[in-house]
């Protein structure tokens, strides 16, 4: 056996090629089109998978080694947090509502991503892309599972987290993340990668992570901070997959460009709408505030996005259609969203409240163009009603946008005094949209979006009651029947923070702690 070659040190590139690409082969007993049936139907043309560049060439042995290190460190912190009753270190029990939003609306997306990347991993004939997608699949499972574990301790002590998977499939505002991700999952593998790896994990990711993780750090939640840092290191690999896949697709064939542009337009907008909940969390739900949504948008979207799209313009890619309107929205969406949740808090398994005076001052300062003019008066009114024993809970249901499924609360770009309504007639029905961009998404694939399970429609059609419920009875209370279907503990999981079990418990435990320290 030739001993010269075995002692020659192989480059990382060559070694990695032997470890991944070289493993696959052109099938002959079954045609490639049957083995990889989803590679063509989206219209994307790939001529040479060998041109795929593998960033971060991790073989499984290295993957296990480094991920194992990370897990050891992370679980040590999660354990310590539980042992030391770390939940008592948070600034204020209102903060936990940010975590409720996270576990209800973000954690299930990690799980969906895991399944979606498994699918993409199976269906790319390029082994380099397949392996990258598969690694992301297990990474996303990691995120789901570590989040569940990190938040487990909070779940033991606070409400609004214990039934999150049941709520995700049913509760009105959670159809926003659910429909977002199911839109991606139901697309083909190339759209999935463009939607998730590129638009979400590359363009928008910092707008999800930084608010939650800095919010955790500022509010004394060490467990979530540690999870955040640990997960972010996986995100570096995910981001590079995102940018690599976009470049690869664009370089393979010029005819891919319009398809990719359309996906970028669609997914930027759907992603931006999804982030409405994060905007609200950042501006209203963190007792110790970090930065405003507007500031986060200016840093992570406007600054970073400019560099990115300048780079992509070399391929003929333009900035997403909705970019300007998204930038215009930075002064408004968090306030509009908080108002909606405040209104519908009877049907939402988390708490809301009117901000206290200092918080209102902070909001005024951060939003000089909009807060005092449009949003403070409404909050002042809510507070005065509450003080007079008439805390407002809206008893009707809002119209939802057919695409993003958010209540129609967004205003016309450039005129925040007017709700933005768009509509389309399609095959005997009328469909409603919050914006030109959601409407455009519908018009391109109406047969897909007419399928959507809109929570408000479903409630009105009687599909959100348990078996055996009879709406014709005299004592029928629709809200109560829906809450039963949601498996939401009425009076415990929902309603204002004032007077909630969370508030009472936290004060009690805090008081007991103070007493122990005094002894």
């Amino acid at each position: 056996m030739n001993s010269v070659s075995k002692h020659k040190k192989l480059s990382l590139h060559t070694r990695y090629k032997a470890m991944t690409r070289d493993l696959s082969w052109e099938t002959s007993y079954q045609p490639m089109e049957k083995v990889y049936p989803y590679e063509r139907y989206e219209g994307i043309k790939i001529h040479d998978w060998d041109k795929w560049e593998d960033p971060f060439r991790l073989t499984m042995d290295a993957y296990w080694k480094y991920q194992g290190e990370k897990e050891k460190k992370l679980y040590a912190v999660i354990d310590a947090f539980a042992q030391n009753s770390g939940q008592m270190g948070i600034s204020d029990a209102r903060y936990v509502n940010a975590l409720k939003l996270f576990v209800q609306g973000v954690t299930p997306l990690e799980y969906s991503a895991h399944r979606g990347f498994a699918n993409a991993g199976r269906h790319f004939s390029g082994a380099g892309a397949s392996v990258a997608a598969q690694m992301q699949s297990v990474d996303e499972l990691r995120h789901y599972q570590t989040e569940v574990h990190a938040l487990s301790h909070f779940n033991k002590h606070f409400n609004g987290m214990h039934n999150f998977t049941h709520w995700y499939d049913r509760v009105w505002y959670l159809s926003v993340p659910k429909s977002f991700f199911e839109d991606a999952l139901s697309g083909g593998p190339f759209e999935f990668l463009t939607a998730v790896s590129f638009s979400f994990e590359y363009v928008l990711t910092n707008l999800l992570f930084v608010p939650f993780m800095s919010g955790a750090a500022y509010n004394g939640d060490m467990s979530t901070v540690t999870f955040g840092f640990s997960a972010q290191s996986d995100e570096a690999r995910h981001m590079t997959l995102g940018i690599e896949c976009i470049k690869f697709i664009l370089e393979q064939d010029a005819e891919n460009r319009p398809i990719v542009q359309r996906w970028i337009d669609k997914w930027f907008w759907r992603g931006y709408r999804l982030l409405t909940i994060v905007a609200m969390m950042q501006d209203y739900m963190l007792p110790k505030r970090v930065m405003s949504w507007k500031e986060a948008w200016e840093t992570y979207a406007e600054k970073n996005g400019t560099a990115l799209f300048k780079d992509l313009s070399l391929y003929g890619i333009k900035e997403p259609r909705g970019w300007r309107d998204a930038c215009e929205g930075k002064d408004h969406i968090s306030h509009q969203a908080w108002n909606t949740f405040y209104n519908y808090n009877a049907a939402a398994p988390l708490h809301t409240w009117v901000p206290v005076a200092e918080e209102m001052e902070w909001l005024s300062e951060k939003y000089p163009k909009s807060f005092d003019r449009y949003y403070r008066p409404r909050l002042d009114y809510c507070r005065s009603e509450q003080e007079q024993g008439r805390r407002f809970y809206n008893n009707t249901l809002p119209m939802l946008c057919q695409i993003c499924q958010i209540p129609m609360m967004f205003t016309e770009p450039g005129d925040a005094s007017k709700i933005c309504y768009r509509e389309v007639n399609y095959q005997d029905d009328k469909y409603h949209f919050c914006s030109d961009h959601c409407k455009q998404i519908f018009c391109y694939e109406p047969e897909k979006y007419v399928q959507a399970w809109l929570p408000v429609h479903q409630i009105y059609q009687g599909n959100c009651f348990l078996d055996g419920v009879d709406p014709s009875q005299n004592d029928f209370d629709p809200l109560s029947a829906v809450l039963d279907y949601y498996e939401l503990n009425a009076g415990i999981d929902n309603l204002d923070f004032e007077g909630s079990q969370d508030q009472l418990n936290f004060n009690k435990w805090d008081g007991e702690e103070a007493q122990e320290e005094a002894e």
């Binding site: 480059s11 990382l12 590139h13 960033p55 971060f56 060439r57 991790l58 290295a62 480094y66 290190e69 990370k70 910092n206 750090a217 901070v225 840092f229 972010q232 290191s233 995100e235 570096a236 690999r237 981001m239 590079t240 940018i243 970073n304 400019t306 560099a307 300048k310 780079d311 070399l314």
Partner: protein, 89 residues
């Protein structure tokens, strides 16, 4: 000209990496915040395995940066000796 950046968890393990990056990238700026160290550089940034080994006094596998890496921006080119981030093509 746009910045590239890389951020690490601020701990003992990442310190020699950060020190190596500062040595090899004179235009880099380092910002420390609780638990995090972020390094910005105009247009490109290089991490050299050899420099890290000089800092640690021990062998270093460049892929070890994954343990403490938090996030980055720019196109990645990597081999056993060097990791480069840049906005060039």
């Amino acid at each position: 000209m746009s910045n590239v950046f890389i951020a690490f968890q601020a701990n003992e393990e990442s310190r020699p990496i950060v020190d190596a990056v500062i040595r090899d990238n004179p235009n880099a700026e380092v910002v420390y915040s609780p638990g995090l160290v972020k390094i910005d550089a105009p247009n490109s940034l290089i991490i050299n395995r050899e420099t890290i080994e000089e800092e640690t006094g021990r062998d270093f596998d460049l892929q070890e940066i994954h343990i403490n890496l938090v996030t980055l921006s720019g196109h990645v080119e990597e081999d056993e000796d060097q990791l480069k981030l840049s906005w060039d093509h």
